[in-house]
Amino acid sequence: MSLLVLAAESVPEVSFTRDANWFLENVWIVPLLPALSFLGILFFGKRLPRGGAELGIAALGLAFLFAVVANIAWFDHRDNYDYRDAEPATELDHSAGVGDTVLDIDGESDTVVLAAAEESEGGEEAHPAVAVLKGRTWFENGGVAFAVGTLLDGSSVMMLFVVTLISLLVHVYSTDYVKGDVRFTHFFAFLSLFSSSMLFFVLSRSTIQLITAWELVGVCSFVLIGHWWEEKPNSDAALKAFLTNRVGDIGLLVGMIILFFAAGNTFDIVTINEKAVAGEISQTALTWAAISLTAAVMSKSGQFILHTWLPDAMAGPTPVSALIHAATMVVAGVFMIARLYPVFYEGFGIADNSVNGLAVIGAVTVVFGGLLAFVQDDIKKVLAYSTVSQLGYMVLALGVGAYTAALFHLFTHAFFKAGLFLGSGSVAHSVHSFDMKKDMGGMRKFLPTPFITFLICSISLAGVFPLAGFWSKDEILVGTGGLGVGADKANGSYHLMLIMGLVGAALTGAYMTRCIYLTFFGEFRGHGHPHESGRAITVPLIILSVFAVGAGFLNLPPGFLAGSAEEPTGWQERFGHFVEPAAAYFPPIGHAVPSWGLAIIASIIGLAGPAVAYWYYFVKVDGLAKQTGEKLTELPNGITSRNAWAGAGHAVLVNKYYLDHLYNDVIVAGVKGPLARVAYWFNQNVLDGVVDGAADGAVRSGRFVYDNIDQKVVDGAVNGSGFLSSQSGQGLRRMQTGKVQQYAALLFAGATILAGIFIVVI
């Protein structure tokens, strides 16, 4: 742990408060509401006038309100609460494990102060307002009681807001989007359960609760991705999603088990974190736990090599994709790292380092995901790979110790990505297809509202100043240490990560430009008459784009416009202030100070990508299309087409730009073509092949084992106990006869041998 960096606020030695605001104490109601609506819809949904949708929306609406109030309560709690004002109910020895003792066996819930905090060194009054913990005994095993309950701190209260808001909007959106579906009611039921599981997840107090919620989220995604299970590809995708997640779950189980024992037989997250911070858990255990849990994150949050399920999961209805990508499923992995951050922080030795597993995985995912997004024709797959890439940013950020930046990016990404998905759904809804090249083009004329929101969200995603994406992405880049260009006080010098992050930023802008061109510009290439979507679809889009614009202002860098790096004012670092735990269970991470230099460099690089793409699509392709009157989606390129083109009449004109063309071929097409194609090929054939091959191999080996070993060797040893008899060459019938006597012989022989052994040995 780095001694160089001190947190802006010194960390008190406590982790809990008691007698917190009612809304913070009873936050368990939030996941309960959608859970009840799940049951309600499941059992009564079909009898309700609107098929259960109203129940789901009502529950999510209430949950959203509750979350908003809880957030406000948390602001107050964070700023004004001092645990020393409250009478401690029980003084507990700090060494006693929290999970074991906080709870009375009779289930009385209790929140406890562990020990009095010392005044912080600088004499500055610390704000020891920390997590609100509540719980009950869930089960007792091996003489130890295990708790279930809520652990509420800044990160979870933030997640409550994001999840309930996105989920509410998705619910509303779905009333129009899946109208008339055969399983309308069922869809809403699982939408509610999905939200409930995720809310349960972010409030989890123990690791076993985390596992439970984690799996529940997985199951809901399975059900929803496979919503149209009549078609085999859909159920295949659902299966793939679930199974890939199960592979990661091995890591989850193993990691949690290691932590359980390393922290002294407890599942309690706070205890585990505290012991990790205090160095009471061996480095080996932490490292192994961190590596195992990373495997789980890779599958859940679609990190490179386990990301392949994510694009396939587009088989589900679009609102589900939005929910999965923005709020519920894939961010669970990122949130889990944040939850157990000390384990990762210490386990990977993030402080004062320049490379570590988590950061590398994140960085590779950023670039790889971005490249893949180029060659997709399916609009949702572009967005899916974009999500992969953005999740890479979050993991990268956590990997380099930029905790706040990661959660902030999660926060902003939720809005613009949900906006993009819902927007793409709105487009697809009107043309009944997701194929940008075949069935879209020029959609801006038919769908103005989705066009504008999609554009805003894309710009935000691309990280253009001053939209939300800019602020969060910039903070991540700053967190890497910045290659000497600003960014003091970072946790290390992660140069490689910075470069990858910048490349990723350029790619993001470029593929979104391509996506927008193919979808909204050019000539309409589909059939029928696309129509503007209803209010249930457009209103959520507008709300989301407002957030996509404004969310970034919640965490302006210190020193921006006013104040200084040392003393943030106004909106500066508000998000970090409220979200980052200031408790003993959080490691003393460094907080990089952003610099104008890096921000400008990053913006230039980030705009270079879309600029090139703009030139290619809006200038060249569009110009050519107008010139030829054809519905072009790409410049005809490649060797053969170039020859054909050379033969064509208009080609002479273009030949003048031969250098341009070469440039296109080499730079744009080079990146967009071979490299991405190779990457995609690698993805589809090697990685996917490995995944599919592993499944196939498992089935094959299963069959082999069954046919050859089980049926022949093991069973054969019994059936063919005629090994004593001379029955070879008698044919199958002979071999199968006289089994009673063979069995009897075996019985006698076995019993005799055993009896013999007993006699001789004993």
Binding site: T737, G738, K739, V740, Q741, A744
Partner: protein, 99 residues
């Protein structure tokens, strides 16, 4: 007399009986071999009865004889039934033995 001479004789008879049960295909012969086994047991019972100098062995031997009689009765009835149904009492051809 040694106790063992009876016991070993009985063991030998028992094993011969087991051999018969395992190898005979004819139902009646299998039953006969079972009788051999039961008699081996009887010899043991009586020999131990004499050795312990009480009548328990004898009493149980009588019971075994009675049970054996019942067993043969039912067993032969089954063999007859089998014969009636399939015109053969070859154990190796019974349905249940086909895998």
């Amino acid at each position: 007399m040694m106790l063992n001479q009876f016991l070993l004789l009985a063991a030998a008879l028992f094993c011969i009986g087991v051999y018969g049960v395992l190898t005979r295909r004819n139902g009646v012969l299998v039953l006969m071999s079972v009788e051999l086994i039961l008699n081996a047991v009887n010899i043991n019972l009586v020999a131990f009865g004499a050795f312990r100098d009480n009548v328990m062995g004898d009493v149980f031997a009588v019971f075994v004889i009675a049970v054996a009689a019942a067993e043969v009765g039912v067993g032969l009835a089954l063999v007859l039934l089998m014969y009636r149904n399939r015109r053969s009492i070859d154990f190796t051809e019974v349905d249940a033995l086909k895998g």
